[in-house]
């Protein structure tokens, strides 16, 4: 047996300053969110679905041999078949292709409207709720007034002033769309701003902006995400209403909302004309919601396990 002697040991260099070093790459807030989001299978599946949907909406209209406008009156209202996967509509146009053209409009409108509503609503509601008092009073009364003016009237006026198109639709949707979000955010602010963590942050010298956007809003993310999940489908359907009034994209191109509107009376006779757009809307909204829920859980610091 060999004797262990001093020579067998080598002194390691001990740098006490290194003891507290962080060896792993430091996780920023969002990379932490991403890490936890990745563990949520449902949310990831939803995200993949959404991405696939976006890709299809871009690619399929480019590669397909059918188009959305050529009518074939002899081949109208045909059941789904190998040639027309989703059947044909009452002018003999291919529903499959129309779905993907429609996806472009519906997704664009739904996402853009939801995003703008989010930005305006969060800022407006955040400021009103945080400052309270007269600021709150005036800002919220402005919101009430906008909300109370008959929307249809405003839309008809817009139609006269603006050219029909996707941009106009988004403007029309956001005129009053943000109000719901602002109300929810304001309510959350009122509830949160008197809690202890706000006091703590304030005593550490955080200014109002930092308080609102770094401390209060992240704590209100739950209701915000839920409200967003209402905004997207209502924007998709409001789009079809606005197109019907004459504000939207001109026929023959049709969004999902318009297609389900048109398919509804045919429900008993040609169910595929309602079913496909309606299923696409529902599944898309479902994916957005499940993803939103996952995101919420990932963002919420209190749910960390």
């Amino acid at each position: 047996m060999q004797q262990l002697t001093k020579e067998h040991f080598e002194p390691i260099s001990v740098d006490l300053r290194q003891a507290e070093a962080i060896k792993r790459p430091s996780l920023s807030f969002w990379s932490d969110v991403w890490r936890r989001l990745k563990m949520n299978k449902v949310a990831m599946a939803s995200m993949i679905f959404i991405v696939a949907l976006l890709v299809c909406a871009i690619v399929i209209p480019l590669v397909t041999h059918n188009d959305y406008f050529t009518t074939d009156l002899a081949g109208k209202n045909k059941k789904p078949s190998a040639e027309h996967w989703f059947g044909t509509d009452d002018l003999g146009r291919d529903v499959f292709v129309r779905i993907w053209y429609g996806a472009r409009i519906s997704l664009e409108v739904g996402l853009a409207a939801a995003f703008i509503d989010l930005i305006i609503g969060v800022i407006w509601g955040g400021i009103a709720g945080f400052y309270g008092g007269r600021v709150d009073e005036i800002m919220m009364r402005i919101a009430d007034i906008l909300f109370a003016i008959p929307y249809l009237l405003v839309v008809i006026l817009l139609m006269v002033v603006l050219e029909p198109g996707v941009g106009t639709i988004i403007i029309a949707l956001t005129i009053t769309g943000w109000i719901g979000m602002a109300r929810i955010v304001r309510g959350q602010m009122l509830q949160l701003k008197n809690q202890e963590f706000v006091l703590a942050a304030r005593s550490l010298g955080a200014d109002s902006n930092r308080l609102i956007f770094k401390h209060l809003i992240p704590n209100a993310l739950g209701p915000i995400i839920v409200t967003l999940s209402l905004t997207v489908p209502s924007a998709i359907f409001a789009e079809s209403f606005l197109s019907f009034i004459g504000l939207g994209v001109a026929a023959p191109i049709a969004s999902w909302g318009t297609m389900s509107n048109e398919g509804l009376p045919a429900m008993k006779y040609y169910p595929w004309r309602l079913m496909f757009p309606a299923v696409f809307i529902s599944v898309t909204i479902l994916a957005f919601n499940l993803f939103g829920d996952g995101l919420r859980d990932a963002v919420d610091p209190r749910l960390r396990k």
Partner: protein
């Protein structure tokens, strides 16, 4: 509190005045008038019609006349329904809308909260997922599809309930269900999201540590705190649901105020537009006031009237 209420009521009156004013001028700016029609009438008759309804006056006089009408709650005759006044139309339509709306609201609130609470208590379990899939379907299937679907299943296939019209309790069930679906889904999602947050809070842990029964925790501590966003949503929801159920009213042939509100705009029935808007706005601002007061009742930490906090 009384000072606060007084201030709020003044603000409400100002809001109402601004709403009336904005609506009036937007309405006048929109092309087409009550007498624009497919079969154009000679100018002389048009002039006579305008004289009869005082549309020949300068616009500011029409505006002041209208303000006077609102102040005295005499909203004038309808242009399209020649034998009715706007007051009569509101008196006829509102009780129906209120009945339908109240039922739908009850359904939406109770159903939504229960679904949301169950989902939150069983977070990430199958109960949660099924409740939320239901809720998302409620959000993503619009009420007009749902309404037709109910008619098809309950009235036509099963013959359980009448298809349409408004002649008794059985007639109110399907429209209430269709109207309640979307708000119920939204309330369920809001409740769930907030419950999950609240259940993670320290005071819930404290309550658990004290050995409180989980039912008591849920009811006494959690739900109460989770309801705030729901209450926020209720103000406009109530106002909207009471007067704005146009699509449902149309599909089920319900003689409510929602139909009047939309039809008056497409008909450019000026007096009805103004009348229903004012009526709707009054409900809205009152509801929002009630919501704000309800905040302080639900969460005593909230003080609305303080502005000297920062």
């Amino acid at each position: 509190m009384i000072r606060y209420l007084g201030k709020r009521i003044i603000f409400m009156l100002i809001s109402l005045f601004l709403i009336v004013t904005a609506t009036f001028f937007i309405m006048k700016a929109v092309p087409g008038g009550p007498f624009t029609s497919e079969k154009n009438v000679p100018d002389e008759i048009k002039a006579a019609l305008e004289a009869k309804y005082k549309l020949n006056l300068p616009i500011h006089e029409q505006y002041f006349n209208y303000l006077k009408g609102v102040a005295t709650w005499d909203l004038g005759p309808s242009f399209t329904e020649k034998s009715s006044t706007v007051n009569e139309m509101i008196n006829r339509g509102f009780p129906v809308s209120a009945h339908l709306g109240a039922q739908a609201l009850l359904l939406a609130i109770s159903g939504g909260i229960i679904l949301g609470v169950i989902a939150a208590l069983k977070h990430n379990k199958w109960q949660d997922f099924s409740a939320m899939i239901l809720a998302v379907l409620g959000l993503s299937v619009p009420s007009f599809i749902l309404a037709s679907f109910y008619q098809y299943v309950f009235a036509i296939n099963w013959g359980l309930l009448p298809i349409a019209k408004w002649e008794g309790f059985s007639y109110t069930i399907l429209p209430s269900l269709a109207l309640a679906a979307s708000p119920m889904a939204f309330i369920a999602r809001l409740t769930r999201s907030n419950m999950i947050e609240v259940l993670g809070q320290d005071y819930i842990k404290t309550a658990k540590a004290k050995g409180l029964h989980s039912f008591a925790i849920t009811v006494r501590h959690a739900i109460r705190n989770a309801l705030l966003p729901v209450i926020t949503y209720l103000g406009p929801l109530i106002a909207g649901i009471l007067t704005g159920a146009f699509v449902i009213e149309r599909i089920f042939g319900v003689p409510g105020l929602g139909r009047e509100f939309v039809l008056s705009i497409t008909n450019r029935d000026y007096t009805v537009i103004m009348g229903t808007t004012v009526f709707y706005s009054i409900i809205l601002v009152v509801m929002i006031l009630i919501v704000d007061i309800a905040y302080t009742l639900v969460d005593p930490r909230i003080k609305l009237s303080d502005s000297g906090k920062e």
